[in-house]
Every structure is written in structure tokens, then in C-alpha cells.
């Protein structure tokens, strides 16, 4: 980072920062505090009565098999979406990074899903996998002789959400991997080649190692997707079903807050999610030190 010439002014920097800070304080920090406070209360219907209950909300969550189920579902979906999605995206990015004619066209054909929303991806896949007229089910019935009930079978419903998520995230992941590959220091790769390292070895010990900051960044953003943004897709495709098979933590929180009006219990779930996000944020910043270092 260069040293930058400074302007004079005591008040001006604060004035310039004020709009950003005011909005963050009012619409982020204040709600965070309120969420913590609310998590210690039991709120009666429509917030008309509030009673302090201490940690009772957390205790009842910890003792609820249903809540542990939502945690498990969230972690399973997150794990497969993140690992599967990143592996596929990296493989595609490596292919698209080959110096061939028309490379730019292929790249745009591969990264456009960045623009997809969880809801749009959900609507399209819901239709593709529908029994009776969905194209995927038609193809499946040609192969195995019968259609699959994607929305009725708990395992298949989870798989459907995972597939839709991976497709939806492809554009985002490929864009960042391509940017990373294009900034890669080719000298190291050439040196490795001269040293006689085979392609497989070159990939793991050079390319993959040099891309690790990007992989880490994507790991975090994909986890955030699977924890929160996935909501729109779940709401449109499965509504948490069948039998809560796809009832992820954020969906459970939404239902407790806005369908059953248990604000306190929902706030306690927010606090748990908040703790998870803080842990991730800290890991992210610790490693982003390496990040800045790299590019020099």
C-alpha cells in the first residue's frame, strides 16, 4: 500500500463517514443488540406481552431434537454445496482458462449464472424436476424405468436443493476462480514444469496452492449462501418439507418469528447463527492477511 498524501481537515473526514456510520449503527449494530436482548425474553402473540426468561430460549433449543435436526440439515447441505460446488467450479474455470480461440465467449457462457437469484433458480428447477411433465424426470424414467418423487422423498428433496444451489452458485464461483487464474504467476508454473513436475503434481502444489486465498474467500461466501440466501429457494421449492427434511436453520427461524410469532425464540436462533458468523468472520480476516500479502 502506498503512502497517500493527506488533506487537512479535522471535521471533514467525520462528515464524509457520517452517513455510512449512522446507517450501520441504526440498521446493523442496534438490531444486533436488540436481537441479543430479545433472545432473553418470551414474547406473547404479536409482541403485546414480553417476559424476561433469561437463557430459557437457548435451553429449550438445545433440548429440542427438532432444532438439532435443522442444524444437521443445514450442515449437510452446506458441506455438499460448498465442497461439491467449489470442486466443479474450479474444474470448469481451469478448462475455461485454456488459451483457445473464442475463450471470451465460453467464459461469458459459463459465468452468467451469477445473475440468478435463489428464487429464480428454485422456480426453474422445481419445474424441471416435477413428476409428470418435468424434463429431468422424463429422462430419469427413460433410464431407470420410473419417475422419482423429488418433493415427496426427504433424501431426494435435499438432493434437489443441493443441485439447484450448486447450479445457482456456478457463475459466482467460476468468475472468482477465473480472476484468480488470470492473475496467477505463470513463472512459478513454468519453473515447476522445467523441474519435471507432472501436470497432476503441478496442479496441486502450484496452481491449487496459489489459488488458496480465492478458495478460502469462496468457502466463506458459499457458506454464507448456504446459511442465509438459500432461504428463497427453500421457500419456493420445498417449504422446508417433506417432513422437515429441508428445514434449514434460517427457514426454521423465519417460521418461528413470522408464522408462530415466537420472537424471543427466533431471536435466540439469530444469536446462534450470529455466533457462527462471527467465528467465520474472524477466520476470514485472519487468512485475508495472507491474501493481501500475495499479490504484493
Amino acid at each position: 500500500m502506498h503512502y497517500q498524501a493527506k488533506f487537512k481537515g479535522r471535521l471533514l473526514p467525520y462528515v464524509l463517514l457520517a452517513p455510512t456510520l449512522v446507517i450501520l449503527v441504526v440498521f446493523l449494530y442496534y438490531p444486533i443488540i436488540q436481537t441479543f436482548r430479545l433472545s432473553l425474553y418470551r414474547v406473547a402473540f404479536l409482541g403485546l406481552r414480553k417476559r424476561f426468561v433469561g437463557l430459557e430460549n437457548f435451553v429449550s433449543l438445545m433440548h429440542s431434537p427438532d432444532y438439532w435436526h435443522t442444524v444437521k440439515v443445514t450442515l449437510v447441505i452446506t458441506f455438499i454445496v460448498v465442497i461439491g460446488g467449489l470442486a466443479i467450479s474450479l474444474a470448469i474455470a481451469l478448462l475455461a482458462n485454456q488459451p483457445i480461440r473464442g475463450g471470451a465467449i465460453y467464459r461469458i457462457l459459463l459465468i452468467w449464472p451469477y445473475a440468478l437469484s435463489p428464487a429464480v433458480a428454485g422456480v426453474i428447477f422445481l419445474f424441471l424436476f416435477s413428476p409428470g411433465f418435468g424434463a429431468i424426470n422424463y429422462l430419469i424414467s427413460k433410464v431407470i424405468g420410473r419417475e422419482l418423487n423429488w418433493l415427496g422423498d426427504p433424501k431426494l428433496a435435499v438432493l434437489l436443493i443441493i443441485l439447484t444451489s450448486i447450479w445457482k452458485n456456478l457463475g459466482y464461483n467460476i468468475v472468482f476462480y477465473l480472476a484468480g487464474l488470470q492473475n496467477l504467476n505463470t513463472e512459478v508454473l513454468e519453473a515447476a514444469e522445467i523441474d519435471g513436475a507432472g501436470p497432476w503434481r503441478r496442479f496441486w502444489s502450484v496452481t491449487f496452492a496459489l489459488l488458496s486465498p480465492i478458495t478460502f474467500f469462496l468457502l466463506i461466501t458459499n457458506i454464507t449462501y448456504s446459511f442465509f440466501d438459500i432461504f428463497g429457494m427453500i421457500d419456493i421449492v420445498t417449504k422446508g418439507g417433506p417432513m422437515d427434511a429441508t428445514n434449514v436453520m434460517i427457514y426454521n427461524l423465519y417460521r418461528d418469528a413470522f408464522e408462530y410469532y415466537k420472537s424471543g425464540l427466533a431471536a435466540a436462533q439469530s444469536v446462534i447463527l450470529f455466533a457462527l458468523v462471527v467465528v467465520l468472520t474472524v477466520i476470514q480476516f485472519r487468512t485475508s492477511g495472507r491474501y493481501v500479502h500475495y499479490g504484493g
Binding site: P19, T20, F27, Q98, Y114, A119, I124, S130, G295
Partner: protein, 279 residues
């Protein structure tokens, strides 16, 4: 030997082409299918085996989605909100970046970390408290609820701070010697050389806001102010009688604006972001 190498290189290139064509097609297939179905009548949609070509109801389906299902209105709402947030965030982030890089003031580090901490704090996590707050402000069912809480951006501040810091310092020196104030400097020097970073931020924010779902779902109860993602929810809600041709038309319409923004700005995005990472 040379001919052997040549042919190996050519073979490799052909294989890469084949691989890329197959993968591109696979990634594109769901949307191509949706596009085909969006032109078909109900009978054509439910035909078995499925028809993959265009149908005869293109005008009907898009007309129905736009008018009967109010997608036109929802898209107008989404557009107003997305443009307002994108412009607001860009301006606020530019100002904050200017303050953090070109000034020295007490608590500078602390302020930066105070902003940075919010980078990974998604709205969804605060949804209950934010809902109470915005309802108390009387903003439910208004654009304000969808715009104001999202005007500040840790991503934007971070991006511009990195970007400004990588600009040669002679520029600000020269500006100061010429007697230009900081705002003048921002407007006539920084912004014109920051289009890649601005484009990158605009792309990220427009698509992020356009695709928001949970927050508008809970805070907007009045149909007239609802956004397009939640509008799609309404189209599929009536399962038994769902006219999938119309729903697919809706999905195509809803993805067009972010897709256009992405295609227009993706090169700036890749350059702006690469730069942000490098320096």
C-alpha cells in the same frame, strides 16, 4: 517430430473446445428449457414426452405474467429499489473511502474495523429485530424499508479503500498544490480513474438487491410495493392450477435485468476485483 507436436496441440485444443461446449450447454440447459416452456400453451407444457422446442403461446404467457400476475409492477418496484440502493451505496462508499485513505484523524483504524466487521453480517440474521425497528419507524410497506437500511456497504468501503490506496500518491499531491479540495479531487480525479471499481461495486449491489427475498417478504405486506422475487412466489403458490408456461415466462423476465447488468459490467467487475485483490 514437429508435426507430431503440432497435431498433439491441435488435438488438445479440439478436446478443450468439445469440453467447453458440453459444459456451457449443460449450464445453460435449465434456462433454455425454461425459455422454451415460456412460449408453450398449457397443453404443450404438459405434453408427454416433453416438447423441447418453442410453442405458440409466447405472447399470451408473457402478457399474462406481466399483467395478470403483476410482474410488471413488481419489476418496477425492484428496479426503483435496486437503482436507489446501488447509487446510494456507491456514493456513501466513495465518501467513506476518501475519508479513510486521504485523511488522518483520531480513531481511524477503529472506524475502519467498525465498518469492516459488518462485512459478513447478513440482514437475515437480524431479521426479527430489524423488522421491529423498521415497523416502529412506520416504514413497512414503503420503499424506505427496502432502501435505507442497505445504503451503507462494508464491501464498498473496503473495495474503494483498497483501490484508492493503490493509486500513485503524486495525484493527491498535485491536486493539493493546485488548491483543489478533497471533494473536488474525488469528483474530477478519483472517480474518472475508478470506473472499474465503481462498475464492480454496481454489479455486485444491483444483483444483490434485485435478488433479495426474505426481507421484502416479511416487511412488505402490500402487493403494490412488493418486489419481483416475492412476486414469483405468488405465481407458484397455486400448485394444482399452476400454468407453468406463464411461471417460466415470469422467471425469464425476473432474471433479465440482473443478467443485462452482469453482461454489461462483467469485464469491469473482473478488472475491478482483480485490482482490489492485488494491491
Amino acid at each position: 517430430m514437429l508435426r507430431f507436436l503440432m497435431s498433439r496441440k491441435v488435438r488438445r485444443e479440439i478436446l478443450t473446445h468439445i469440453g467447453l461446449i458440453m459444459v456451457s450447454f449443460l449450464v445453460l440447459t435449465p434456462v433454455l428449457f425454461a425459455l422454451a416452456k415460456s412460449t408453450q400453451t398449457r397443453a404443450q407444457v404438459f405434453h408427454y414426452p416433453p416438447i423441447f422446442g418453442p410453442g405458440t403461446a409466447i405472447k399470451d404467457n408473457y402478457y399474462t405474467a406481466w399483467h395478470a400476475f403483476n410482474l410488471g409492477m413488481y419489476m418496477k418496484n425492484s428496479f426503483i429499489v435496486a437503482v436507489a440502493v446501488t447509487i446510494g451505496k456507491t456514493i456513501l462508499s466513495l465518501l467513506a473511502g476518501l475519508a479513510l485513505v486521504y485523511f488522518e484523524f483520531p480513531l481511524q483504524e477503529a472506524v475502519f474495523y467498525f465498518i469492516l466487521f459488518t462485512l459478513m453480517m447478513p440482514t437475515e440474521i437480524l431479521i426479527v429485530a430489524l423488522f421491529n425497528l423498521v415497523s416502529d419507524l412506520g416504514w413497512s410497506n414503503s420503499y424506505l424499508a427496502l432502501i435505507v437500511p442497505f445504503m451503507a456497504s462494508a464491501t464498498g468501503v473496503f473495495l474503494f479503500r483498497q483501490h484508492f490506496a493503490s493509486i500513485p500518491s503524486d495525484l493527491a499531491d498535485a491536486a493539493r498544490v493546485d488548491g483543489a479540495g478533497p471533494l473536488r479531487f474525488l469528483w474530477s480525479i478519483l472517480i474518472p480513474i475508478s470506473w472499474n471499481a465503481i462498475g464492480a461495486l454496481a454489479l455486485i449491489q444491483f444483483i444483490y438487491v434485485w435478488n433479495q427475498y426474505l426481507w421484502p417478504l416479511v416487511i412488505i405486506r402490500e402487493n403494490a410495493k412488493q418486489v419481483v422475487q416475492v412476486g414469483l412466489r405468488g405465481m407458484t403458490a397455486v400448485q394444482d392450477v399452476t400454468n407453468w408456461g406463464v411461471v417460466m415466462a415470469g422467471a425469464i423476465l425476473a432474471m433479465l435485468p440482473p443478467l443485462i447488468v452482469f453482461i454489461l459490467l462483467h469485464q469491469q467487475f473482473m478488472r475491478g476485483f482483480a485490482l482490489g485483490q492485488e494491491k
